[in-house]
Symmetry: none
Subunit: 188 residues, 4 copies
Amino acid sequence: MPPDDKPMRADALRNRNRILQAAEQVFSERGPAASTEEVANRAGVAIGTVFRHFPTKADLLREIMKGLLARLVSDVEMLRRDRPPGTALFAFFTTLVAQAARQKTVLDLLAEAGTELSIPDAVGMLERSVDGLLTSAQDAGTVRRDVHLPEVMALLGAVCQGAVTGGWDERLQARTLAVVFAGLGPAT
Amino acid sequence: MPPDDKPMRADALRNRNRILQAAEQVFSERGPAASTEEVANRAGVAIGTVFRHFPTKADLLREIMKGLLARLVSDVEMLRRDRPPGTALFAFFTTLVAQAARQKTVLDLLAEAGTELSIPDAVGMLERSVDGLLTSAQDAGTVRRDVHLPEVMALLGAVCQGAVTGGWDERLQARTLAVVFAGLGPAT
Amino acid sequence: MPPDDKPMRADALRNRNRILQAAEQVFSERGPAASTEEVANRAGVAIGTVFRHFPTKADLLREIMKGLLARLVSDVEMLRRDRPPGTALFAFFTTLVAQAARQKTVLDLLAEAGTELSIPDAVGMLERSVDGLLTSAQDAGTVRRDVHLPEVMALLGAVCQGAVTGGWDERLQARTLAVVFAGLGPAT
Amino acid sequence: MPPDDKPMRADALRNRNRILQAAEQVFSERGPAASTEEVANRAGVAIGTVFRHFPTKADLLREIMKGLLARLVSDVEMLRRDRPPGTALFAFFTTLVAQAARQKTVLDLLAEAGTELSIPDAVGMLERSVDGLLTSAQDAGTVRRDVHLPEVMALLGAVCQGAVTGGWDERLQARTLAVVFAGLGPAT
DNA sequence: CATGAATGAGGCTTCATTCAT
DNA sequence: CATGAATGAAGCCTCATTCAT
């Protein structure tokens, strides 16, 4: 989401993206405490270039989060198109946990930065998307009607965090999600 | 668990405990990035004393974790004594989430330090305790037989992380746990 | 004083002047530590353009000084034309102090850059001009004969510096100059 | 003026003083833009030690100023004791200009830092001291009664600045001060 | 043993200057 | 010529750790 009042030069844009990718990697691996210098190295640019594009480390973190959240929103949209409404929400849980390593950044940042970083818009969009999934699932009868968005978001976050920090393997992911899905499903 | 080859003088032991308490507070509030100096201040000792007791910041963190995990183990034992076997596991989930703020340290540390810190013993003990809870619940018929320890631990961790980093209020804690409990319960 | 071996295109010259004006403003307000980038912004040109015209920040500073000194010289000439010879020197003092804010740049630069910047020609010209003022005043009998140019220049500089860094208001300017003028005047 | 709630260890105090001296030198020579690192080198301590004693560069500058101003105040007091009241003020002017190189720091800081640094107490004390000198001189009849403190302070500052940034030699100092003294003296 | 001063590597950020577009 | 992105040295400051008192 580069703010392009003026189109932005080709090379600058390429660097911007390289930096964003490098940052995503680095912060995923080392947590948000990783140094900006390392991001620069991994991106193959000088440290000054990172700061030209993102005047502050927090700006860089914020931008990564925006990107990740945007990607999640589009994942949701894709699922709504390609899956039967009754399973799309479950599929989203599964995807999310499977990608957890990538999502680590999102969660860590939400945790670490907390008050400082603020990207309510992006978060709000994701919530609206997931709400769509939930409603569809309830209409299809695969999720109980007394389940509401907040706990779904909470479970999404929890399970994702858990997967990341706990290092769940595939089998464990499946078994854990099975419990959650059973909990969401119709009462009988 | 002071390494007591030589008994350790009374005042030294008192300092050790003060430091541990202070550290728990400080790291809970500020995250593991908080400075050792602040721990020393809060404990009312000089920085050198902290490093005499815990040669490395990581050692200090590790020791806190051990303490927290030990406390969890004793929580579990207490629940086994005081609660009907069918609900003890659920009670433990509830307790854990409610105390999440305190547990923040545990999780953060697990996340942050990851590979560096390693405290398999303490974790193992907690796992054995929880396994007891699980088996009892299954015997009592309040938890499905095809639920196994790994996913229970996973859910415990996930839900705890979620509660902390998501800042769930009491209502949200209850609703989220309701889903999980439904998922653990008998299939109808 | 653009170095015009080749005449220089009209737009280039306009940029040169814009940069010079901007630089004068910026350095007056923020001191010589202000960034070249800000000069470029204020001038409405790109940073590269500033460095094309002035290969070094020091070059830019030097050029500003030359300009300011040249302006002072022409102020002196004007006073010699428009004022009675007995008061022109005093008038120059007064003008200078009143404009001190503008002159801040000159002085700061002299102070800050010291050895690095060197602009003997321009300073020499100003000295010759002021010498004219001094001689006239002495001929008119308003300044003592045993006062020489060096101390006049020194007082000029001192009073100007003082006015700038001390933030003298009008009343204080007047009272201070009154002392200096009394000191310069005939003995009885 | 170390704030000695607790007496302060001998070595710490020695370092503190070494740093202060080094800083005075460095900032005199290179201006307030000189690097803290250089101060550390000159003082023969590590950079961290400088920051332990003065948490901020501004704190260091402020402390130097306090010290210099305090020394000036004591200079004044000494003059009042050792000199006839009619000449003490003039002697102070002379001393000040002669030491200008040392005082450079004071003035530069006053100029450069302006709003940021604030040490009103120390400045106020100096003003009160100089006021004493002025009154004495007026009582002794060596300074006109219609001269007031503000312009004396202004001239002091101006002449000092001038001496520093202008690099006046002894002869020039004398001639310039002669003019000022004549201006302060009785109207004939 | 406790104290707290000293160390110095490392992090974030700024800015003069260079160079591809 | 102008543009503005890239560079990288350098500055300020923090903090884990060591060591003299």
